[in-house]
């Protein structure tokens, strides 16, 4: 059976995994709140982020932090352009078309990344390669600590951005009622594109931070689906809920994989289906039934 150390170790692995899901889910939820579009290609932003950071770091001779910033900005620009050039045209079309469109972006990104950087697994050197001793015989890899730390920092920054800055408050207004925001003179179109850019940048950061654990290849974008499952467990449309759901899913996953190896990899979906059947709006509901 599981020893105490195993439990702690699995829990920490799960916590780091959950934080990574949470970072991707943050982008999902931000974009969903701004445009009602669920971006199925968000995992691919994460994949692109890992690749661009790697490419910048090779171009600049191996230094991580400048490459990290430049890589995130590059993916942010991609996100901005995706919205400004394409997503903006198809507002109001049926939901099925929009899902399919974002899925198609996923295909395109994956193929392009494979064509540019090759289909082999690459690895990225990060400054977090040590280990942290937590107790007598309990060590934690630094890369996992870095993910948890980055999640906390990014959440704090986003919270301050949305509650304190002019742009953040304008974004909240546009998310609550686009038409009213237009009338108040808020540049809704530009804000929506910026939201896409922010979502893409967070996903790219998650990709770069996850690189030591997952390695980098074109398939790591599929993590995005698990992040989506986590966001749904918590309740789409609320950021704390989505983070909570992702942490839950991330912590459950390693335990489920360890205890029931037959369902390796699908436990997040099982949890999600159970939650959807019991509470279709997630643990922290955000939708309201309209009365006639």
């Amino acid at each position: 059976m599981l020893s105490f150390n195993d439990v702690v170790h699995l829990a920490i692995t799960g916590l780091a995994q959950g934080c990574a899901y949470g970072l991707i889910a943050l982008g999902f939820v931000l974009i969903y709140k701004a445009t009602e579009v669920v971006n199925f290609a968000h995992g691919e932003f994460m994949m692109l982020g890992a690749f661009t950071v790697l490419a910048w770091s090779e171009a600049m001779g191996g230094s991580f932090w400048p490459a990290f910033v430049l890589g995130c900005l590059t993916v942010g620009v991609v996100g901005y352009l995706i919205d400004a050039q394409i997503m903006r045209r198809i507002i109001g079309q049926s939901a099925a078309s929009i899902f399919i469109l974002t899925v198609a972006f996923g295909f395109i990104f994956r193929s392009l990344a494979g064509m540019i950087w090759g289909w082999n697994t690459l690895s990225l050197n990060t400054p977090f390669d040590g280990q942290l001793a937590l107790g007598a015989n309990l060590v934690v890899n630094m890369d996992r600590v870095a993910i948890v730390g980055a999640t906390v920092i990014l959440c704090a920054v986003l919270y301050l951005f949305f509650s304190r800055t002019r742009y953040g408050i304008a974004m909240q207004a546009a998310s609550q009622n686009q038409l009213a925001a237009y009338y108040m003179g808020i540049p809704v179109k530009r804000l929506v594109s910026i939201t896409w850019a922010i979502g893409a940048m967070i996903a790219a950061a998650a990709g770069a931070l996850m690189a030591p654990i997952t390695q980098i290849d074109t398939t790591i974008g599929f993590l995005g689906i698990k992040a989506l499952a986590g966001a749904i467990v918590g309740g789409f449309g609320s950021i704390p809920g989505a983070l909570l759901g992702c942490l839950l899913i991330g912590v459950i996953e390693p335990f489920a994989d360890y205890l029931v190896p037959e369902i390796k990899g699908v436990s997040p979906y099982i949890v999600m289906l159970i939650v959807l059947f019991v509470r279709p709006e997630g643990l922290v509901p955000q939708t309201f039934q309209k009365k006639v």
């Binding site: 198809i90 507002i91 198609a104 038409l179 059947f277 279709p280 939708t287 006639v292």
Partner: protein, 358 residues
């Protein structure tokens, strides 16, 4: 421009009212019936596969195009249909009984999914069906005593009423028979109260509910019918594949079905057929294209998914009605010549519809 004169009551309920439609449908059916006379075995097999995908597309079209319920999990029903039928056949159950049992099972699973899905909407449904697909795929892979797991399951030969139908042309006619049956049934469905209520739920759940439509039950029915038809496609697909593996019925297959109906044109049976034609022709066109492209581009591993993605993006951005919409415009151009104007089919300006305040 053709004017329809209705001189009898039957004219109102005729399937093909216009002469042009009659001629076109007649030509297509005649071509399909005569195809084995002049097509080689390989192309006949491909044509049969096209018909199977057309059936699966119609199945998904009823759910997504006509009832407005997005399902990313329809490959699961293909898988359920293929596996259930093959397992029954290998235990000596006759073809006809097996088809009925398989379609019933697939429909019941679909209704169960629809029962739980009737409370969800929009992308919750999309992601729930995706999760359902992954669970079914895992189940097919792990339930080794019945499905033989990832090692694969050999499909028994096609045999109806004790007559073995192993040759390509015999199998093709079986496909054709079921395709015509499904097309006829589906186009009839939308003239019944059940089918009409599907359309009502798609257009507005709220107004359908106020008109006395039981929205939950309609969704369950739609899921059931759609799943049964897709299960039938799975049965026919099994005989084409002749060897089943769980990963055949994965996310990619689901996306292929979705791509078919979106590019074909949501909300029309013809659209599903157009989509199936496109899906079947695309790999052929790509292999031709590869010969003409320079090797540095043509030999790239990711070329096919890239082009798939690009085609979807271009269609959704520039022709959201799909191939069917383009076909309507071309037909309208000739029927009303020379009065066609670009503004005849101008897209209405649309605004963001929120789902958060349902």
């Amino acid at each position: 421009m053709q004017v329809l004169f209705k001189t009898r009551y039957e004219d109102d309920i005729r399937f093909l009212a216009k002469t042009g439609e009659k001629v076109r449908v007649g030509l297509v059916v005649a071509f399909l019936l005569a195809a084995p006379l002049f097509l080689q075995t390989y192309y006949l097999g491909e044509l049969g596969l096209l018909l199977v995908y057309a059936i699966a597309g119609i199945g998904l079209m009823i759910l997504t195009g006509h009832t407005g319920q997005v399902s990313f999990g329809h490959a699961a029903f293909l898988g359920i249909g293929a596996y259930c039928h093959s397992i029954l056949m290998s235990h000596g159950v006759p073809f006809t009984v097996s088809v009925v049992v398989t379609m019933t099972l697939s429909g019941l699973v679909g209704m169960a999914l629809g029962r739980s899905a009737s409370k969800m909407h929009g992308f919750y449904l999309a992601i729930a069906t995706l999760a359902f697909l992954m669970l079914v795929e895992t189940l097919l892979g792990e339930w080794e005593s019945v499905t033989n797991g990832y090692a694969g399951f050999a499909v028994p030969g096609l045999k109806i009423f004790g007559i073995s139908l192993g040759k390509a042309w015999q199998q093709y006619y079986v496909d054709l028979f079921f395709t015509l049956l499904v097309v006829w049934g589906a186009s009839n469905l939308f003239r019944t109260p059940v089918g009409r209520s599907f359309l009502a739920v798609r257009d507005s759940e709220l107004s359908a509910r106020s008109l006395g439509v039981n929205v939950e039950w309609v969704k369950i029915q739609s899921f059931g019918i759609s799943a049964a038809i897709t299960g039938l496609a799975g049965i026919l697909l099994a005989h084409h594949l002749s060897y089943l593996a769980p990963d055949v019925f994965g996310v990619l297959e689901s996306l292929k079905l979705m791509l078919m109906i979106v590019v074909g044109g949501l909300g029309s049976i013809l659209g599903a057929i157009f989509g199936a034609i496109l899906i079947s022709l695309l790999p052929v066109a790509l292999s031709f294209l590869k010969d003409y492209l320079p090797a540095s581009i043509g030999q790239q591993a990711g070329l096919e998914p890239l082009l798939f993605g690009l085609i979807i993006v271009l269609f959704i951005v520039f022709e959201p009605q799909g191939i069917y919409g383009r076909w309507m415009k071309i037909r309208f151009f000739f029927e009303t010549f020379p009065y066609y104007r670009k503004s005849s089919f101008v897209r209405q300006k649309s605004y963001l519809k929120t789902e958060r305040m349902r």
